[in-house]
């Protein structure tokens, strides 16, 4: 197994008919890295993530995730990754404890370690006080924490976050990023998409996707220097000018 990279792709491509959603992307994400995957709506981010998670067969190209082949070993990949998006699927009529327990069962966590991992997930995300509350009645911020607990209870090697902070105020977004940083500090690789460019600044490296191709890649300071601007928001606007498709 590759010990340096959690995710590696070569020429990863997805076509839908004549439309090339993802166009020969080479991605290398280091173990324990927070990797920002940025781009306009429709640039191909979600399609790429779906291929990496083993949910969508690539049209061509190759890649490994957690050391497993994304073409042939998707079942193994799925047990080693966590996934969370803005539109997370929690069961509103179950209480918090039941939701988390359900996810743990779905991920096939062995019976003997369920209790420990449950406690650990609850403590890491700080949801002890809401365990007996009905999920549907919780404020969004709490549901977001529960969602993160569900996505990480099986201690994934890689956590995919697809716009995890949708409609959240600046304070709660920072609090959520504290949790993300703590996950990364434990050695989890974080692959994250966001439309908040201040969040992109929290990534070790950020990759900009334009029309399905990698348009730029670097650490936030490198990117800002290369485009001679003060923020990643301006980098985004500069890079997006290359876009041809809408």
């Amino acid at each position: 197994m590759n010990t340096v990279f959690s995710i590696q792709t070569q020429g990863l491509t997805k076509k839908f008919g004549a439309f090339v959603a993802v166009d020969h992307i080479d991605v290398e994400v280091k173990r324990g890295e927070i990797y920002g995957f940025l781009g306009a709506n429709g640039a191909g981010k979600t399609t790429a993530i779906r291929m990496l998670c083993g949910l969508l067969q690539p049209s061509s190209g190759a890649g490994t995730v957690a050391g497993f082949d994304i073409l042939r070993e998707t079942a193994k990949i799925r047990t080693r990754i966590g996934y969370m998006s803005q539109k997370f699927s929690l069961y509103p009529d179950l209480d918090v404890r039941e939701n988390l327990a359900l996810y743990m069962e779905l991920y096939g966590i062995p019976k003997h370690s369920i209790e420990d991992q449950f406690t650990s997930a609850v403590e890491r995300t700080g949801i002890t006080e809401i365990l007996d509350r009905r999920t549907g009645e919780l404020p969004w911020g709490w549901q977001q924490k529960l969602s993160l607990a569900c996505a990480t209870a099986h201690i994934p090697e890689i956590l995919f976050l697809d716009e995890p902070t949708g409609s959240v105020d600046p304070l709660s977004r920072r609090a959520f990023w504290d949790l993300i940083r703590a996950e990364a500090a434990r050695g989890t690789t974080i692959f994250v998409t966001t439309h908040y460019m201040d969040e992109a600044e929290y990534c070790h490296r950020a990759c900009f996707l334009v029309d399905g191709k990698v348009a730029d890649l670097g650490t936030p300071p490198e990117l800002k220097e290369r485009h001679n601007v003060a923020s990643l928001q301006e980098v985004f606007l500069a890079v997006a000018k290359q876009a041809r498709r809408s």
Binding site: I34, G39, A40, N41, G42, A43, Q86, E137, P139, W140, G141, E163, G166, S167, V168, D169, P170, L171, S172, R174, A175, W177, D178, R181, A184, H195, Y196, M197, D198, E201, Y202, H204, P220, P221, K224, S231, L232, Q233, F236, L237, A240, A243, S246
Partner: protein, 310 residues
């Protein structure tokens, strides 16, 4: 109240399943762009639901162009355009058909319809996509189409509840250019947003917290009122700072802002002192300079202060 486009007085609503409002009062001047910001669950959407006459407040008063939101709901619905957070488009219908459908619901003049739709398509630059199914639009295009549907009756008041969530920076810029054009035509807009750069484009901004207004003013006024001096600290890495860590004694607020750290310190404290205090928790911080206050700083300070008091 006379002259206000939207007038709200002591609005209170406390009902299971809705985020509460506890005595909210403000007014929106005709032709202005008024922004609502605040934490999730602050009551912003409840306010929109009351103004759009979908919800009857338990007490207090809401008026739109002098019409009572409770007693004159029919009249109000004719003059407002409302875009809820979860809007509905018909995925199987094309862009053009969605607009036509929205028009028929509100019963606009059939003769004017083609002209109105063409206007909106040109305005939103959705013309090239007019025959595309709504389900096949990108996220940003769907938001634009939803805005066009809300505008089909050429409303004089627009109520937009987080219209740009999940939209990339380029499309958000387009969307706000559309709002600026509407303002130029005299339209009054009340809009909520989680993006603080958007709040800065509003004429007036109100901060809502737990059902109450905790601040209001022009963006410049709100920034000027920040209680202390704001410093930007560089040379540290934002990867290692936790928002809920208690700031060092003497510093009022400390939080990551993009790639830097912002520290709010009492007025008059020297930069060297601020830096040495910050270094007690972020040893790598090396460079300090005074920062421009932005609405994001204003809201963060207000929310942290409110959290500390509760």
């Amino acid at each position: 109240m006379q002259n206000a486009a939207i007038y709200i007085d002591g609005l209170t609503h406390n009902h299971a399943g809705e985020h509460a409002l506890r005595g909210v009062s403000f007014s929106v001047q005709p032709g202005s762009l008024f922004g609502l910001i605040g934490a999730d669950g602050a009551g912003k959407s409840t306010l929109f639901r009351i103004l759009s006459t979908l919800l009857t407040p338990q007490s207090g008063h809401a008026e739109i162009l002098g019409l009572d939101a409770h007693k004159q709901s029919k009249e109000i619905r004719r003059i407002i355009g409302y875009m809820p957070q979860k809007f509905s488009l018909y995925g199987d219908l094309t862009v053009f058909e969605n607009l036509k459908f929205a028009a028929r619901i509100v019963d606009i003049n059939e003769k004017e319809l083609p002209h109105t739709i063409q206007d909106l398509l040109a305005f939103s630059r959705l013309e090239p996509a007019q025959n595309r199914q709504a389900a096949k639009l990108s996220g940003g295009m769907k938001q634009k189409l939803a805005l066009c549907c809300a505008m089909i009756r050429k409303p004089s008041i627009l109520l937009l509840d987080e219209p740009t969530v999940g939209v990339d920076p380029v499309t958000r810029k387009d969307f706000w250019n559309m709002l600026a054009q509407l303002k130029a035509r005299g339209c009054t807009t009340l809009v909520s947003t989680p993006y603080m750069d958007e709040a800065e484009l509003c004429d007036q901004v109100a901060l809502v917290h737990q059902g109450q207004l905790i601040g209001q003013g022009t963006p410049q006024e709100l920034c000027a009122k920040l209680p202390g001096t704001l410093w930007k600290i560089q040379g540290y890495t934002s990867l290692h700072f936790a928002i809920h860590a208690t700031p060092p004694q003497g510093i009022l607020c400390l939080y990551p802002m993009g790639g830097d750290l912002h520290a709010l310190a009492p007025q008059g404290m020297e930069s060297a002192e601020v830096l040495s205090l910050v270094q007690t928790c972020c040893p790598k911080a090396t460079k300090i300079q005074q920062a421009n206050v932005r609405i994001e700083d204003v809201l963060l300070q207000a929310l942290q202060a409110a959290e500390a008091n509760s």
